[in-house]
């Protein structure tokens, strides 16, 4: 394990243990090692002993905000609860969104912040070793040591970091009760919407072909929706049948409409946490659609999702002089 991860892991176990022992929190959400290399398992610790299993590394791609409100609700059966949780920049912004949407109350959570160095996309690592079985991946400061039967090779960590982490604008938590690490001084990339602008410059026909190609292999498993902390509708539009807004088949129009509507539902709420892309078994880059919305919300309404629990979300409010040059006549 890298020095840095070891320090964070040690501090995390200690802090979570202390908070549980002192009764400040009733449970603590973090990650522990899973059974497959590069796949971390979420862990809810109820005792300081259990907190000793927490591990921190570059493979924590799930977003713990996803199940936080449900966990709080389940535990609330036992009365007032407070749940501790680790949070990077994007995760903390998802918690802000949940507070804005009344899914959580601020006092129900105790956020232990970690400045993110970017998470690794296991699919990228596996692609580098296609055809070979990876049995062990060890993280060093800036490298990963990937080994399997008869090989052990080193790859640069940054080369396999997720796209959303490369263009991250807020690696530091925006909402936290305490920090485990110092604040990141990572410079935000110069133009984080480069990829989106490139698509915008294409002709409509090219964009249509690009989009059809992008979603062509989607198998409609909805892992992207299930991994997303914004998706908690009791009946998702994909399951509605009267009327059925989106067909359930793999017809290209059904698949297109699924992706358009899923992205649209995240407008003004998506924090680009990348959990959706990390969960997709087919490698579909659905963040390109949510990022288009993120870019427009910032350009048109001047806001970013989940920055301030006291502010309304961009689509829950309006401005008297919002842009309307897209309309036929003003």
């Amino acid at each position: 394990m890298s020095q840095l991860n070891e320090t964070i892991t040690r501090a995390l176990r200690e802090r979570a243990g202390d908070l549980l022992a002192a009764g400040t929190v009733d449970a603590f959400v973090g990650f522990t090692t899973g059974t497959v290399p590069m796949v971390m398992r979420p862990l809810v610790a109820r005792t300081p002993e259990e907190a000793r299993q927490f591990v921190w590394n570059s493979f924590c791609v799930l977003n713990p905000a996803n199940f936080l409100p449900e966990l709080v609700q389940t535990l609330s059966g036992e009365g007032q609860v407070r749940v501790g949780v680790v949070a990077t920049g994007c995760w903390s912004r998802n918690m802000v969104v949940q507070i804005q949407e009344n899914r959580l109350r601020r006092e129900q959570i105790h956020i232990v912040g970690i400045a993110s160095r970017g998470m690794v996309l296991p699919r990228r690592v596996r692609a580098l070793f296609a055809g070979r079985e990876i049995t062990r991946v060890e993280e060093k400061e800036h490298e990963l040591v990937v080994s399997g039967p008869g090989f052990s090779e080193t790859v640069s960590r940054w080369s396999v970091v997720r796209d959303n982490c490369r263009t991250c604008s807020h690696p530091n938590p925006v909402l936290f009760d305490e920090m485990l690490t110092s604040h990141s001084t990572r410079n935000p990339v110069a133009d984080r919407f480069d990829q989106i602008e490139e698509i915008e410059r294409m002709t409509p026909e090219e964009r249509y072909q690009w989009f059809q190609g992008e979603v062509a292999t989607c198998i409609r498993c909805y892992a992207c929706r299930n991994a997303c902390p914004l998706c908690y509708c009791p009946t998702c539009f994909v399951d509605e049948s009267r009327p059925q807004w989106v067909g359930k088949s793999l017809d290209p129009v059904d698949v297109s409409l699924f992706h358009i509507l899923r992205a649209y539902h995240c407008a003004g709420r998506c924090t680009d946490c990348g959990a959706c892309e990390a969960a997709c078994p087919m490698g579909i880059r659905m963040r390109l659609f949510t990022r288009k919305l993120e870019k427009d919300v910032l350009a048109l309404f001047g806001t970013e999702a989940g920055m301030d629990p006291g502010q309304p979300q961009p689509l829950a409010t309006y401005g008297l002089d919002d842009p309307q040059d897209f309309m036929l006549r003003g």
Partner: protein, 165 residues
């Protein structure tokens, strides 16, 4: 695009219609809010103003009621164009429905263009109850623009037998 792959209800009516641009009369679904734009359309009718018969009006309570689902449903069902209209800013019967709609519409229009829908297929406008003339003018303009694009193909759902959804 061959006529057999068109939804059944808008295949060319007889075999002589070979020139699609000449024979093509677009079908445009218009979602109009009941308080302003629908009344504006009504006024256009009462005033006997001429406008193309391309439009199929669906009356809704407020522009704030028009969801992405409704617009996409019209498109996948084979509408060549969609027009959405509500009360002018400040005139909403429910105070703020059109302001909320304005934010949603701009994001939806941009997103649909981003994934390849032709910009001229989807139009938004404000029309008040007294603007019969404007209503007729908007229908003429939207019809011209949609006619220029030809029949809709993108995001139109076809069943394997070539019929509509």
């Amino acid at each position: 695009m061959t006529s057999s792959s068109w939804p059944r209800w808008r295949r060319p009516c007889h075999k002589n219609c070979v020139d699609e641009t000449l024979s093509f009369e677009p079908k445009i679904i218009a979602f109009l809010c009941t308080w302003c734009s629908y009344a504006g359309a009504d006024l256009a009718g009462i005033s006997r103003l001429q406008y193309p018969p391309s439009i199929r009006i669906i009356k809704v309570p407020c522009s704030g009621r028009i969801s992405a689902n409704l617009i996409l449903d019209a498109i996948r069902s084979g509408a060549d164009g969609v027009l959405v209209s509500g009360c002018h800013p400040g005139d909403c019967h429910y105070q703020s429905g059109n302001y909320h709609a304005r934010r949603r519409f701009v994001l939806l229009k941009n997103l649909l263009e981003f994934v390849g829908l032709e910009s001229d297929r989807l139009h938004f406008t404000w029309i008040s109850a007294s603007e019969g003339e404007q209503f007729a003018a908007v229908v003429r303009e939207v019809t011209d623009r949609v006619r220029g694009l030809g029949p809709a193909t993108r995001f139109v759902k076809h069943l394997p037998d070539g019929s509509g959804k």
